[in-house]
Structures are given as structure tokens and as C-alpha cells.
């Protein structure tokens, strides 16, 4: 059985508390106060708590275990910020890929949901990402992951047209029926594209439950985890452990023992003679598809709903998204690269996530991860930014 260990690295350009009085006067992403919207401050914290120590562990694993493989996706928006504020952290990512055992996965540069709003913009962002990956990591990706693993048959067909070998998606029971996530499948009519399915139970044992002391599996030891994973031998070709990179050190803090866990996990898994590691493309080449997987509705790796409702589930999110994409044609007509880049930063899905109201209920506000006080404030600031952007566009076109 093959283990595909895939991590996703992303930080958005958060917008400042942008008021009506800011319109025409201020930039959007340059908060310098000690606020959660201060991108530099947030980045430096994550670099210190997560990126630097995790990459140290990963590099050591790649050196200690010649068979260890890793797949990574890293968005343009986080790379830009690392280049500006923490080049040493970016270097540590590059150092991983220099081992030749780390595959970079393709995605949209701006971590957007543009696939569902504008195909031309989506393709442009994928292309921008590919250029960045080539420049920094010297790779040409052959596997694709969409933002939040948002996937449907249309995306499968698109991946086929673009010659991708693999697409990473959620291994959700409602889509699989009685089939196992531990095999490869392909989109209807696209036999050359392999769909790799996240084993959400095992992945979330690490990403979400690792430090949850009310969970029956707690405390999670590498022995325990490896024995669960190894049970798949004989019932599956591979197990896909997909998670946010920030699991290590940010979602699960260092004092939970997460780094020790990560550090000894590959060795423990490799004790089983039938286990090995591959990157996602290696696995896609090695194993056959077990059949078509029909995903007519958008499937994501988010929440119990596994849909896009956290990004476009209420009227303010829909309003903001439609206003954003209404500006697309005018932004491009202005032919100003700065304006286009600014508009693209506003396509990042996080902006809409902050407007999500479904967790923002009494007693449960802690479930609302956001740099803003409320989804309503997030919406208000975002809409003011769009207004300012519109003024800038009008000024250019005049």
C-alpha cells in the first residue's frame, strides 16, 4: 500500500478594516497596526510556529528515509508574502523540493473559486501559478488541486483537456457509495485523469483530532496511527493523507507533540513491509483506475456538508462574489497590471469564507476563524474595497 502525504500551504492577503472614509484614500492589504488583518504580522507568526519547524522536520525525514515522498501545493499569495517578509522560510520550501522527492501540485495562484465564475480567469490563475512553480521550484506540475478541493465533473473534464495526470479530491462517502477512497478512479469520459481521494478519516485524525482529548483515539501515537493505516493493506492500493500544512504548529501547537508525531510517522509506517510512499503523480502512474466517479455537484473537503456553502452559502457572499466578477471585464479593459493583480487578490476564497454566517452562532463563535469581528464586518470592508477598486478602474478608463 502506498501512502500519499500531501500538504497545502496558503495565506491570503487579508484586507484592512476598510471603511467608507478609506475609499479613495487607502490601500487594501497594508495594515500595520497590531491587528489580525496585519498580513506581515500573521505571516511572521505562522513562519515561526509552523513553516520553519515543520520544514526542518520534513527535510530531516527526507534525508533519513530515502523512501519518504511528499506532495505540496503552495499558493501564489503565500509565496508573495514569504518573498517579501520571510525569504528564509521560502528557501526552506525550496530546499525540500531540491531533494527530488517532493512534488508541487498545480492550483490557482490566488486560491480562488474562479473555476465556478470565469473559466478564462481560472486558466490565467493556473498559468500564473505554473510560472511561479517553474521559477522557484523548477517543476512543471502534472497533478491538480482546486481551491478547497472544490471539484465536479466539469473540472475533471477540464483537467483531461489540459493533460493533467491526477486531480486531488475529497473521498466523501456520499459520492463514493460503497466504494473505497483507497483506490484510484477517473472522471466520466476522462480515463487518463486519475482521481486521488482524500482518506478523510485518517487525515482528520491528524489534522483535527490530534489534540482533542475527548476523542476516543486520544492520545494519538504513531504506533496507533500506523496500525490503523496499515490495515488498508489488502483492501486498497493507496491511502491519501491530505491536509493543510498549517496543521503542524498552527492548528496543532508544538506542545501537543505534533512535531514528534510527524517526525516518527514515516519510519513507523515503513516498518510494515508492504507500505511505501509516493508523490501524487507517482501514485497516479502506478495504480489503475477502478472506474468512473460521477461528481455532478461541487464536492469540497470542507465541513460536514463537503460543499461550497462556507464560501457562497448566504446572500452577502453571493452579493460580494457577483460584484467582484462583474468588475472582471472592466479591470482587464483598464490594462493596468497593478489593478489586475489587486482584483485577483480579491478573488481569494478566504475573503468569502470570512463572510460565512453558518458557524457564527451563539456559544459557537470560536468556530468562526476570521480576522474580523463578524461576517458582517468582513462583508462591509470587502464591499468598500470593491467600491474603491471601481473608482480606480474608472479613473484608468477615463
Amino acid at each position: 500500500m502506498t501512502i500519499c502525504f500531501y500538504l497545502h500551504v496558503h495565506q491570503p492577503h487579508r484586507i484592512r478594516h476598510y471603511r467608507h472614509s478609506s475609499i479613495g484614500r487607502r490601500d487594501y492589504f497594508d495594515e500595520t497596526e497590531e491587528l489580525e488583518t496585519n498580513n506581515k504580522r500573521v505571516l511572521q507568526k505562522i513562519v515561526e510556529k509552523s513553516y520553519i519547524p515543520t520544514n526542518r522536520v520534513l527535510l530531516s525525514l527526507l534525508e533519513r528515509h530515502p523512501e519518504f515522498r511528499l506532495s505540496l501545493s503552495i499558493t501564489g499569495t503565500v509565496v508573495e508574502q514569504l518573498e517579501q517578509h520571510a525569504p528564509e522560510a521560502l528557501e526552506s520550501f525550496v530546499a525540500l523540493t531540491e531533494t527530488g522527492k517532493v512534488e508541487i501540485v498545480s492550483e490557482t495562484y490566488h486560491h480562488s473559486l474562479s473555476f465556478f465564475y470565469s473559466l478564462s480567469e481560472f486558466e490565467a490563475q493556473v498559468e500564473l501559478h505554473a510560472k511561479m512553480v517553474k521559477r522557484l521550484f523548477g517543476q512543471r506540475p502534472s497533478a491538480f488541486r482546486n481551491t478547497e478541493l472544490a471539484y465536479n465533473n466539469d473540472l475533471g473534464r477540464w483537467a483531461g483537456r489540459r493533460g493533467y495526470k491526477a486531480v486531488l479530491i475529497e473521498g466523501w462517502d456520499y459520492v463514493l457509495g460503497d466504494r473505497s477512497p483507497n483506490f484510484l478512479y477517473h472522471p466520466p469520459g476522462e480515463p487518463n485523469v486519475k482521481l486521488l481521494l482524500k482518506n478523510y478519516r485518517l487525515s482528520d485524525d491528524i489534522a483535527f483530532r490530534f489534540s482533542e482529548n475527548t476523542w476516543e483515539g486520544w492520545p494519538l501515537t504513531v504506533e496507533k496511527f500506523a496500525s490503523w493505516a496499515s490495515r488498508i493493506n489488502g483492501n486498497g492500493d493507496l491511502v491519501d493523507l491530505f491536509m493543510d500544512y498549517e496543521t503542524f504548529g498552527e492548528h496543532q501547537w508544538e506542545d501537543t507533540g505534533i512535531f514528534d508525531f510527524l517526525s516518527s510517522l514515516p519510519g513507523e509506517l515503513l516498518k510494515h513491509p508492504d507500505n511505501n510512499f509516493m508523490t501524487v503523480s507517482e501514485a497516479a502512474s502506478k495504480y489503475p483506475s477502478r472506474g468512473e466517479l460521477d461528481v455532478p455537484h461541487v464536492l469540497t473537503w470542507a465541513d460536514t456538508e463537503r460543499d461550497l456553502s462556507a464560501w457562497r452559502g448566504n446572500a452577502i457572499q453571493e452579493d460580494a462574489l457577483s460584484r467582484l466578477y462583474e468588475l472582471e471585464a472592466r479591470v482587464f479593459a483598464a490594462r493596468d497590471p497593478v489593478l489586475i493583480d489587486t482584483w485577483r487578490r480579491l478573488t481569494t476564497s478566504d475573503h468569502f469564507y470570512y463572510m460565512c454566517t453558518k458557524w457564527f452562532n451563539d456559544g459557537d463563535v470560536h468556530a468562526y476563524f476570521s480576522p474580523y469581528e463578524s461576517p458582517y464586518d468582513a462583508f462591509s470592508y470587502y464591499m468598500n474595497v470593491l467600491k474603491d477598486l471601481e473608482l480606480r478602474i474608472t479613473a484608468k478608463n477615463a
Binding site: 471603511r19 448566504n314 452577502i316 454566517t357 457564527f360 451563539d362 458582517y376 464586518d377 462583508f379 462591509s380
Partner: protein
Amino acid sequence: MKVLMFGWEFPPHNSGGLGVACQGLARALSENGVSLTFVLPKRFGSPRESFKFVFADIPDCHVYSVNTFLMPYQTEASYKNFLRENGYIYGGGLFEEVERYSLEALKIAKRESFDIIHAHDWLSFGAGIAAKRVSGKPLIAHVHATEIDRTAGNPDPEIFKREREGIISADKVFSVSEFTKKMLVRDYGVNGEKIKVVHNGLDQKSVPSGADAALVKLKQSGYQVVLFAGRITVMKGVDYLVKAAKRVVEYAPRVLFVIAGSGDMEEQIMQEVAALGLSKNFIFTGFLRGEELSRVYNAADLFVSPSVSEPFGLTSLEALAHGTPVIMSKQSGASEVLTHAMKVDYWDTEALADKILSVLEHGSLREVLTANGQRDAFACSWDKAAKVCIDAYKTLDQSYL
């Protein structure tokens, strides 16, 4: 279980939220099987009709009245002023009314049989203490507002003293919010363990659907309506709303601020509005109640509660019940139960202006704030509040142990 309850006002003879809250809680307690005797200091025009009307739907609830001038939310100074203006010469002061109420309470407590004494706010605390003294029954002091709230931090020392005496003498204290609980611990030196938070409820009956005709006409001509409802006093922060309005109107000249209420700052606020050149953007309706207030809630595009210090703030829940979204100050107890409102520090008038503009500008924002806020508001019931009270009664009433 028999409860002797001391209040100061009761709708429709109320000047604010205290009477509404007493009525809501009394009804729910009664519905939950509490045998309630509601004592009021009385000086109503035609008490018989009004009492019949008020209590018609509260079974098992008696009203006692003592001959006190009914006028809550007064300081001694403004009370004297009021008496002078109204040519009413009796006793000479609010404190004497309170004393008188206590003396009557002694007699009532001797006559009545009850297990628990429950007194609402400082005006009734004296009566509650007196009843406790003669009966030896446990006293609950229910704090709906403190002198510190009412005066925005400049308490009248005598009222503060009496308020504190009631709270300290009580066996248990109910506060309408965590916000108020913190204040009681911090400023009154009450042991936090003695305090139980009983959030107010919302009358769940369906709200009248009509909107105020004059406001509807103005809206048809392109105006949007921002509503404030409450007493115009230092506690309610209307002056901060006026400052925010100045900024709002710079961006959106066709916004109308409706101030529904009256109070000792009314004239000052009107002068400020005029001085800022906002007269055409403000309407002062005076104190509204019942259907009249409903029609204004219905006409409004947005409700703003800018209180400097608000123990609870029922009006925000009422606005939501009428389908009107809410912006409220963070210095409000109701903020603990209304997650889905836009919140702002009362002093941050720029942020307040900004949020007002956003809500008025975006229909989607009004839609989501209203739908979610309404769910929050309807989750607040007097039944829930009554059950919390009853649980606390049981811990005090020896016959239940």
C-alpha cells in the same frame, strides 16, 4: 411556590423597559406554576380598568398598590424638578416615595403568605428588604439597570447607596446580563457567585404588520430610515448617534434618523442636531408605545442602539422581531444573546457611521442580518427566563430542599 414580587411600574403605565420586563417575566412565572403576588406602588389615573386590562391574562396574580407617585428612571433632582413643573406637591421627594413603599411593604408582607421575595431595581429594593425583615423569607434583588448605567458613570451617591444596600442584603441577585453582572462585581463589590444572569425575553406574539404612513411616504421619495427608540438620556448614547449621523449624511444625504423617545437630554440633542445642520435628517417623535412604535419599527431600514452602558436593551430584540436589522453598541447586555447584529464601541462614531452606511447600502446585508438576528431574538423567551428564576427560587426556598 409563592412569590411576593415588588415592582415599580407595569405596562401600559411604564416609561421604559423595566415595566415591559416585569410584565413578561411575571406572566411567564405564572404560566410556569408560580403563584405570584405582584406589588406595585400605585398612583394610576383609573387603576381599576388599567389593572384589569394589564393582568387579565395573568392568572393568580394580585396587584397591590401603595400610594406612591409612579415615575421610574428619575434622580432625586430631576424628580423634584418634575414635581415642581407638574404642580404636584407630595412628600417632597423620590426617596420619600421609596420609603413609603417600604413601609407599605411591611404591612403587605405581614398579611401575605409567600416563600420568596423578588424585587425589581432599587426603587423596590427597600420594599423587598422590609418584607424580608418581617417575614424572614429569602430576598432576590433583580437588577435591570444600575445607577452607573443610568448616569453613564456618575452615580447619585444616595441612589448608589440604596441600590448597593438592596443588592448586598439580598440572598440572591439576578442580573439581566453578564455585562451587568461584571459591573455588580466590580463596582458594587458583590460576590459573583451570588449573581445569576437572567437574560430578558422577547414577547413572542406576532408583531403588527403596518408601517408608519409618513415614513413610508418619505421612503418612497428616496429616503432610508434609521431608527432609535428609547429614553433620550445620557445612558442611551443618542449624542453619539448624532455625531455618526453627521458622517453618514456626508455620504448619503437622504437618510432620515427617527428618534422615538423622550428624556432629559431631548432638548440638548435637538440643539446639537440643529447646530450640525442635520435638522432635515432628523425626526423626533416623542415617546411611542404599542402599535405606534410597531409601525415605526416596521418602517425602519435599520435600528441603532448606541447605548453608553446598557444592561440589556430589549429594543434591539423588538426591532429584530419586526424584521429590522440592528447595529448595537458593544456596551450592551443584549449583545450576549444577539450574535447576528453589527456591533460597535459606542464612542467610535466613525465606525458606527461606517456600519450604518454599509447596512443602508447593501440589501443583502440587511437580509442576512435580519434573518439570522431574528432567529437569535426569538430564541430569547420569557419562558426561558422564568425557568432560570424558578431554578434559583428552588435553591433558596427551604421547603423545596
